[in-house]
Amino acid sequence: MSIDTAPTASATALDASSGVAARRDILRRVLMTIGPILAALVIAGCILLAVGVDPLAYYGYVLEKGLFSPLGIQQTLTRMAPLLFLAAGLIVAFRAGMWNLGGDGQFLLGAVTAAASAPFFVGIMPAWLALFCAFVVATLVAMIWSLVPALLRAYQGVNEIITTLMMTFLGTSLANVLVKLVFRDPGTTVPQTRTLPVEDRLPRLFDTTITSGLLFGLAAIVIVHLVMTRTAFGLKLRIVGANPRAAVHAGLGVPGLTIGVFAISAGLAGLAGAVDIIGVQGNVRADWNPAYGLAVIPAVFLARMNGFAAIGFVFLLSVLSIGGESAARRLGVPNHFTLVLVSIVLIVLALAEYVDHRYNQSRKA
């Protein structure tokens, strides 16, 4: 029979050395993130070469249009606003072990609700209150939309990946129907909602075109990060995510928490839609679906569901998507190449993690 012989005193002594270990751990994580991204850029470059585009020209153009030109960086930062809200919603869900992949449906319904309600509220109350009310209504609608998957998961154990994905199809179609039939602006010929006048939208920051929604988005993701890591509520969600049986054993109300997670996650997705409409677009055109919800998922994974890291990756995603849109027009590379690039990054990252794991295992053995 084996008996632990480690002296108890070492429990305290080792605490001191863990600081060094933690720093080395962070360094390794940074390497494990940057390395695969560079490798992915090379692989994507090969694909570009294969379709006859100079990869250096493409990357240079993306960087110039998304990051270094004054207009580009402003567009990039504006694009970040809805993406940050979506990322915040995904962080809550993923950390709680619930794969809410219905972000796009929730986003669009939030957007349509905001687009329909904001002009209405502006007519009857002060502008700041009107925008606030529009945000609240959009959030509520998205929350209600998440109830079906939430209840199914909480009480019947139905896999939420399937239900949220299905609900996103329904949600996108419903948003379209609402734009075309219910909230259609009679004053225009193209099917779209009434346009919110520019002066009633969220103010822009200083003298730029950057929306102040960016600040709300940053606030949202930081708050979510702190709630998940520093509060009892966040810990409960993480327990449910890490070991649902332990959550039951510890006496947590798992069904209630499940519904809460879906409501928060979907509410943030709805807010993302509202911020995009009230801050930037001003109206929803029929068949508009930017599919931000799916694009953000890899960014959140790359950030390992850490809020601060997610800000960085959302920024990167914005640069890529704004720059990629310009490059698409200029170099003829399809817009979706951005997604190809992001997925290559994700796959290379997963491979790197696997190799790292195997290496650690073999070193231990």
Partner: protein, 519 residues
């Protein structure tokens, strides 16, 4: 082959001093075993006795740390399941290993070379030959999902035969069968050994062992504690065999290091019971037995033991009391009914449940040790204020608990799953015995622990009772119950079949109750 008893027969497979260790436990401790053609060799033992590990090594899933395995008298490491099959060792595992959506024939053809067409005709001829000699019928073209569990098992046995197995290992094969299915399996085993096959039959049911075996080896906590050879087996009647097995399984050994028995503290029988359970019942589910009319009470300072073969409803009892499982009947804590309360509320009132599934539900393995101390108090002061984590307070208290309970951990931040089983158990003990505990349910508290940790855990439990807590101690280890409890109740098929005061004759009386005889 009826002339086996007189002439010495060579072993097909023999184990010599085989030892297998896992972190914190010795699963098999220097085991000798000889497996001979024409014999049903029964391996008998509780869960955790080391049967599965032994099978794992015979079927090539695991390698022994010490000792050797001889096949046909020659040392032969069995490095993979494929090699085990090639050596003629076929295993029918506890859980069915057939693809339910495929037909029987397709299942039997799995594992053939992928570049060849499946040889269906050849298979049909072979199966017909095997089934005819065994007197069974296998529907080759039926989907596996349409077959009963007994039929599926026959398919698995036929599969082993198709692959020319000489040794067939049946792991807990009767656990999912109906009584009639068990009878049929027994008859089938008899016909198989008559054809010269060797069978290793694993079970924890004494009656099956006595009915179907030729030779019985009894495992207990990783050691082989006894063997009944065929000569003796035939000489004894069924009841005599059973009582001999009981003696082997539950009897006391002279060199038992755990035998340092303590005088059991007396309990104030006048005191009002802390926990009263009246007519507790749980409906049976597909994979778990139910409970029926369970009633008992425990006074302050008393340790009530629940003995019984594993899987007779012990876990369901613990979960029903803690609120994790829906139950009917009445549960009173200090006279107040608590059966309608949630898990969390029961815990706050002082009813604590120390689970036997330390990593599965007791802890969150990836979370630091410090947080795992407070999993059941999330949000409570002083560790959280207004819902915000007070990290300094948590670390301070966790540090105290680490010292008090002697948890050996590199740091408070270490993920709890990295600790050994014994140290994880200390974390759980510290958590459940924390302030406010009145009644504590211990489910197999020393299962899988090494000796030092076993003794330390038992002392913690005794100390808790000494402080005036009421203790329900569920264990499959009779020694443990005898050394700690005031009274021992025996559980069988989801009900309490008797309660015995822990007096001198308790060992025999509990043993008799466990195998279904009146005490």
């Amino acid at each position: 082959m009826s002339n086996l008893s007189s002439s010495p027969v060579d072993d097909i497979v023999a184990l010599e001093g085989v030892t297998k260790r896992f972190p914190g436990i010795v699963a098999n401790d220097s085991i000798d075993l000889s497996i001979r053609p024409g014999e049903v060799h029964v391996l008998l033992g509780e869960n955790g006795a080391g049967k599965s590990t032994l099978i794992g090594m015979l079927s090539g899933l695991q390698q022994p740390d010490e000792g050797r395995i001889l096949v046909d008298g020659k040392p032969m490491p069995i490095t993979s399941p494929r090699q085990a099959l090639a050596l003629g060792i076929g295993t029918v595992f506890q859980h069915m290993m057939l693809v339910p959506t495929l037909t029987v024939a397709e299942n039997l053809l799995l594992g053939g070379p992928w570049w060849q067409r499946p040889r269906t005709e050849e298979l049909e001829a072979r199966v017909a030959e095997i089934t005819r000699s065994l007197g069974i019928v296998v529907k080759l073209h039926a989907r596996v999902s349409e077959l009963s569990l007994g039929e599926q098992q026959q398919v698995e046995i036929v599969r082993a035969m198709v692959r020319n197995s000489r040794l067939l290992i049946l792991d807990e094969s009767t656990s999912m069968l109906t009584p009639q299915g068990i009878e049929e399996l027994g008859a089938l085993m008899r016909r198989l050994v008559e054809q010269g096959l060797a069978i290793v039959f694993i079970t924890h049911k004494l009656k099956e062992a006595a009915a179907f075996g030729d030779r019985i080896s009894v495992l207990k906590l990783g050691r082989k504690v006894g063997e009944i050879p065929p000569e003796r087996f035939r000489a004894l009647g069924e009841q005599e065999i059973i009582s001999e097995i009981v003696e082997l399984m539950f009897g006391k050994r002279k060199d038992d290091p755990e035998a340092a028995e303590r005088p059991v503290a007396s309990v104030d029988t006048e005191a009002a019971p802390l926990l009263q359970v009246i007519d507790l019942a749980v409906a049976a589910t597909d994979n778990a037995p139910g409970l029926s009319s369970i009633s008992f009470d425990i006074r302050p300072g008393e340790i009530l033991g629940i003995a019984g073969i594993d899987g007779n409803g012990q876990k369901q009892l613990a979960e029903a009391l803690s609120g994790q499982r829906v139950a009917s009947g009445s549960v009173r804590l200090e006279g107040a009914t608590i059966e309608t309360l949630s898990v969390g509320e029961r815990s706050r009132r002082g009813l604590r449940y120390l689970t036997d599934d330390r990593l599965g539900e007791g802890t969150v393995g990836t979370f630091p040790v410090s947080i795992n101390f407070f999993l059941k108090q999330v949000g409570a002061a002083p560790f959280w204020r207004n819902g915000v984590e007070q990290r300094a307070e948590i670390d301070r208290r966790a540090g105290e608990l680490v010292r008090e309970y002697d948890v050996r951990t590199p740091s408070l931040k270490t993920p709890v799953a990295r600790l050994s089983g014994g140290n994880i158990q200390k974390v759980l003990l510290a958590r459940e015995l924390a302030e406010g505990a009145k009644v504590v349910i211990f489910n197999k508290p020393t299962y899988g622990l090494d000796l030092a940790n076993t003794l330390a855990s038992r002392q913690r439990i005794r100390d808790a009772a000494q402080r005036g807590l009421a203790v329900l101690l569920i264990s499959t280890d009779l020694e443990e119950l005898l050394s700690m409890c005031n009274r021992i109740a025996v559980m069988a098929n989801g009900s309490l079949v008797g309660t015995v005061a822990n007096a001198d004759d308790a060992r025999t009386r509990v043993g008799r109750l466990m195998i279904g005889l009146a005490a």
